[in-house]
Amino acid sequence: MFEAKLANAALLKKIVEAIKDLVTDAPFDCSESAMCLQAMDSSHVALVSLKLEVGMFDTYRCDRTINLGLSLANMSKALKCANNDDTCMIKYEENDGDSITFTFADVKRDKTQDVTVKMMDIDSEHLGIPDQSYSVVCEMPASEFQKTCKDLATFSDSLNITATKAGIVFTGKGDIGTSVVTYSPSSNSDDESESVSLEVKRSSQPTALSDRVRLSLCNEVPVVVEYPIEDNGYLRFYLAPKIDDEENMD
């Protein structure tokens, strides 16, 4: 049996909205200590990794490690029924067959609503993410990051991030023109210069989740775009870099 209660349905709503365009089906790994999710987009260039630790939930009970496969589109439909201030109980019982119940409760009005969503058999590949020390780690306002990505996306599908001691530069170069955004460092980022090219995906979406976004870069390894969730979790996007292929350049 698995039972977890969030104080605000809005949180789960935001998470699902942030990833549902990138990932269609999600296997939620529920264990004693956390509810996790790892999934790739269909083209396998981006990996979504979500962790919601026990501390984030009002109540949390997980008898044994289970994997709950859900379609994010269906989950989103279910969550649309909830008001943002409703509490959200996620419940799965082995005897219930293959469905998960979301219970939204409006405490003030003594109203509860049960929405049951069919589970899916997801044959997912779990990726081992190696420990990696990044040469650049920078934090910036999530809204700022979103605007930058949006601006660059109008010119190009791919985005180049270059970080030096002098600052971090986002470049989007396309047929119709180029957009370059430069930030001078305010505090951290005293590292070597690094450059990463990647596709502007929807990694800039979860602005609503968190105020800050942390970018971790290193040459020729996936970029990490991390949105901390409260103090007990995170939503991370690992984005595969585009690497210049020299033979083709000649």
Partner: protein, 240 residues
């Protein structure tokens, strides 16, 4: 291209210029990383047809998948359902192919006649052999049994059992190469038990190890017949 860009932007804010410089410095870093073809790598953007080259450059940058960086974890863990299915498939194969027949040795006992010894060790719960014969419904079997009773040269090779609330009988009277029919009876110290399994809508009576069995042990199971008349005729049913 870098230079051109730098010139173009010269008139603009200092901030922008610094960004261009940093990009240049970065491209050098990149290139030294990749075999030091500095000139080659930098020259294409210098071309006179920037837009076309630009597009090509985008194409040249190959897409990489995230799985190239993070290995897929191949978990050997299986769900209980999977394990159950696999075990079932293995049992099915073992029963249908009769692969265990070769591990059973026929021997002759002066008192009991033929018997079967284990040709290898079996662990508790292992499938040993199928009791193979003709599957008959109860009424047909009863008629046949009466017929056999008239001929004293015919031994008893009929095994009656109930499956899904229906009575069945396997008639293994006819001599066959299958050794399940030759296994002797023991009520007191059997090492096999019978079990009915169903594959593809057909059911089979199989013998399963009741405990760990050592090589060369005689295989024995309880024939189960406790009717007074049979016992009177065959006292060994309850005293062996």
């Amino acid at each position: 291209m870098m230079r051109v860009a730098a010139q173009k932007r010269n008139g603009r804010t200092k901030k922008k210029r610094s960004s261009v410089v940093s990009m240049q410095s970065l491209s050098v870093v990149d290139i030294t990383n990749e075999n030091g073809h500095t000139e080659n790598a930098v020259s294409p953007p210098r071309s006179k047809i920037p837009s076309k080259k630009g597009r090509q450059a985008v194409k040249d940058v190959s897409n990489h998948k995230i799985t190239e960086f993070f290995p897929v974890r191949r978990s050997s863990r299986k769900t209980s359902k999977q394990i159950e299915e696999e075990e079932r498939d293995a049992l099915r194969d073992a029963v249908l192919t009769g692969g265990n027949e070769k591990f059973l040795d026929v021997y002759k006992d002066p008192l009991k006649g033929r018997g079967i010894r284990a040709g290898r060790n079996f662990e508790k719960g292992d499938f040993v052999v199928e009791y193979k014969g003709e599957m008959l419904e109860y009424s047909a079997a009863k008629t046949l049994e009466e017929k056999y009773a008239n001929d004293s040269s015919i031994g008893s090779y009929m095994y009656f059992f109930t499956y899904n609330n229906k009575k069945w009988c396997i008639d293994a009277t006819k001599e066959s190469p299958y050794k399940g029919r030759l296994i002797n009876h023991s009520m007191l110290r059997p090492n096999l038990r019978t079990k009915v399994v169903e594959f593809d809508g057909k059911h089979h009576l199989i013998l399963v190890a009741k405990r760990n069995i050592e090589i060369d042990e005689e295989l024995l199971y309880d024939y189960g017949d406790r009717t007074a008349a049979t016992i009177a005729k065959n006292p060994w049913l309850i005293n062996t």
